[in-house]
Amino acid sequence: MSALDELYRQVILDHYRSPRHRGSLKGPHIHAEGLNPSCGDEFSIDLIINDGVIADVATQGQGCSISQASGSMMTEAIIGHTPDEARALTDTFKRMMGIEEGESPLDPEKPGSVLGDLEALQGVKKFPVRIKCADLPWTTLADALDRSDA
């Protein structure tokens, strides 16, 4: 597979074209917005945390397939988890992408076992300019969780 085809895997295009948990939430929720000023990509997130668990999530935004797909996959990965688990996931993701230091957490023998669909974003690592695209939703999530003090 060429680097391009590895970058734009089917699962990524699918999340880009049909983003999950799209929209906004009513009621007591946490809201955060992220912007990548250099390219103009935008991402915002609403979270509802009930009984210490992320009960619902909705996102809005515009931008490239990488940022939007990363955000869509993120929503699926965090829903039903505690804020601390979401934080841990954020770290795992950032380590996989080389954004944070540390060994890649993935198991090369069993693709998909650690981060599920998100592992498809590994192809972005060959495109350093695009890493911040994949990162935007996660930085916005981290910001939201910080605000919640949860």
């Binding site: 391009l4 970058l7 734009y8 295009l13 990509d41 931008g63 490239c64 990488i66 695009r130 695209c133």
Partner: protein
Amino acid sequence: MTDLRHLRSDFPILGREMNGRPLAYLDSAATTQKPIQVLDAVDDFYRTKNANVHRGAYALSSEATDAFEGARAKVASFINAGGPNEIVFSRGATTSLNHIAYGWGLNRLSEGDRVVLTIMEHHANVVPWQLVARHTGIELVYLTLDDHYEVDISGLSDLLDERVKVVAFSGMSNVTGTLGPVRALVDAARSVGALVVVDGAQLVPHAPTDVQDLDADFLVFSGHKMLGPTGIGAMWGKPERLEEMEPAEGGGEMIADVGLYESRWAPVPHKFEAGTPPIAQAVGLGAAVDYLEAVGMERVRDHEHEITGYALKRLADVPDLTVYGPGDPERRGGAVSFSLADIHAHDIATVLDEHGIAVRAGHHCAKPLLRHLHVPATARASFYLYNTLDEVDRLVDGLLDARRVFGLNA
């Protein structure tokens, strides 16, 4: 075809490979590449003449001053200014526009005065006026674009009254390639005695420019967009306007006398050049102007018309591709913005990059325009004298590959 292919060897970077393919640099609206003639002029300046200018009482400093002032004279004659003293060097078009907004605007405009802009302005011709508005209470008024991506001047006469003090617009849009309607806007401004500021960042590099014909009050441009170094640009001003304008920056070299509480300014243009100027960069810009004049600005323009026309024709064959800009290559510049199906502009740029093709993606520092066009980002190819028709073909092939990668039929 005005074949300028032989010039390519003057540009070392064009021999580079990018992702395994020869580099096709289609981003000259952002910044241009530099010929060895410019690099050598800069290098030679540092190796043989480097000293601070104007202040020296020794021969080296006078050689440096001659080189610097010689560059000013070259730039002046390049745009047919009345003389070197009508040229003020700056860091670039952005700084020059800020100088005008602050030096003229902050000191001579007040609450309720209006500045007329167009919706296609680069942020460099929007934000400085917004900053000055904070301190003065001036109002910004925008002309919009019509369906053919031309500045809509139909409502112009209704808009004109004595509140209009400045009309400031781009000579050519860096997004749509639209040419500013210079004649109409200059006449309109004159009819109410308003100042005319032309953002020539995309104009001066690409076509012969004659400030006598233009008949504006100010024209600004950047060296790095016309084969020159980064860090240098220029403002041309009508002598009367330069006289009446206050300096926006204070410091050494721009003064006749400095007292503890007040100072007097040096004559134009020095009163606008506070501090050590970008000396070697001015020398480099002088060499860039020499280079462009040797090629001939008519040829540069004709070459770009040809390549832009070819690009518009070939892009029309790519399914689901929309070009944002006028269709007639003779009535537009060589910045070609487009979108392709549902593929985001950044993804287009990434696919093209894999093909060795450098295009820009984003809002191109023109958010008001992109909002008006209802598109968050475009991909943009832009051409200069070193580009070839082959590179356009490669662009089209790259776009077809983007369709494939995104699962669209090619």
